[in-house]
């Protein structure tokens, strides 16, 4: 093998290692921060979709909004939630410390709604009698980030 071939192989290996390690680091980060998922099964005419969003992206979005949002709009939004700030912060802290449990469960002949904390996620499940269902799962850390953004 000549020097040029060896150089190409070295560059190829370096790029491969760089991409692999970046991918692994990104996967570890996404796994650590969690994923926001929204799943809607409309059964029929209503739309169905599954939307997974890495929580890290939500954090990034909030950071961008914090920088790009007009200061007046930001101040007005925060004034609007100022009164609810202590309760939002307490709820956010409380959810973090809380063990897994179904917090609210409402069941009628037509539908079932449950709000629970499971494995570090805040989950909302809705099941209607025709088979329609909604599943929302939000890592508790995201709620903390949103609360922080709204009340900072």
């Amino acid at each position: 093998m000549n020097t040029v071939a060896r150089t190409f192989i070295a560059i190829f290996v370096a790029v491969a290692v760089m991409f692999t390690s970046t991918g692994v680091a990104a996967a570890v980060y996404v796994a650590a921060t969690g994923i926001v998922t929204i799943e809607v099964d409309g059964r029929g005419d209503d739309p169905s979709f599954y939307l997974p969003v890495p929580a890290a992206l939500v954090g990034l979005g909030l950071s961008i909004a914090d920088v790009t949002m007009p200061p007046e709009a930001k101040a007005e939004m925060r004034r609007g939630v100022a009164e609810a700030r202590p309760i939002l912060e307490a709820v956010s802290r409380g959810l973090e410390d809380m063990p897994d449990a179904t917090l609210v469960h409402v069941e009628t002949d037509k539908e079932r709604v449950s709000i629970a904390k499971r494995g570090g996620n805040f989950e909302i499940h809705v099941d209607a009698d025709q088979g329609e269902r909604v599943r929302i799962s939000v890592p508790v850390g995201v709620i903390d980030q949103v609360t922080d953004f709204l009340t900072r």
């Binding site: 307490a90 409380g94 410390d97 897994d100 179904t102 917090l103 609210v104 469960h105 409402v106 009628t108």
Partner: protein, 192 residues
């Protein structure tokens, strides 16, 4: 390091981890439960399971709100001050077990009585009517009325409830609807 030593260290490490992890929820392993069952209509069943520690963390805000309203309790359009209630409770605390009030009409019977460390209220309406059974630990009521002036001390009341531990608080049966409020150590509600 030999196997025995390794096992000892591992056990100590696990024990340490358990002890450091536990306090986040240890003092607070009490859960406040509300169960509402409705027969007829949509047959709605509602259950709430809330950690008492979570309620405790919200208490400073609720107390602040209660203070804004002057700590007065409205009973059928007549305001009763916490001072009045404090006087009644002091008299109740020092008295032996007894029925303090019993009102009976054609359709309804209401009894207030003291039983041990509890103040109990029971009402029964005529056939198929509402049946209310409430049991309040006197220590909790005492803590609730421990605020200054006309203030209700909700925070102290909840702490007293934690000290009191698990137990039934209120059950209501009204024909097709039943409500049960209680505290226990189970995160998920156990059917009854």
């Amino acid at each position: 390091m030999n196997t025995t030593s390794l096992k000892k260290n591992l056990t100590a490490a696990l024990l340490g981890l358990a002890l450091t992890a536990a306090p986040a929820f240890a003092a607070n392993d009490l859960w406040f439960h509300v169960k509402v069952r409705e027969k007829g209509g949509d047959n709605a069943n509602v259950t709430l399971n809330i950690p008492v520690s979570f309620l405790q963390s919200l208490m400073p805000m609720v107390t602040k709100q209660a203070e804004l309203e002057g700590g007065r309790i409205a009973i059928e359009d007549k305001d009763v001050s916490t001072e009045d209630l404090r006087r009644v409770l002091t008299a109740l605390k020092d008295s032996p077990d007894a029925t303090f009030a019993e009102v009976e009409t054609d359709n309804e019977k209401v009894i207030f009585y003291k039983q041990g460390n509890y103040l109990r209220a029971e009402t029964t309406e005529g056939q198929g009517g509402a049946e209310v059974n409430a049991r309040f630990p006197i220590a909790v009521l005492d803590a609730l009325l421990s605020g200054n002036g006309n203030e209700l001390n909700l925070e102290a009341a909840l702490n007293a409830l934690v000290d009191h531990g698990p137990g039934e608080l209120v059950t209501i049966r009204d024909g097709e609807t039943s409500v049960r409020v209680w505290i226990d150590h189970n995160a998920e509600m156990t059917e009854r």
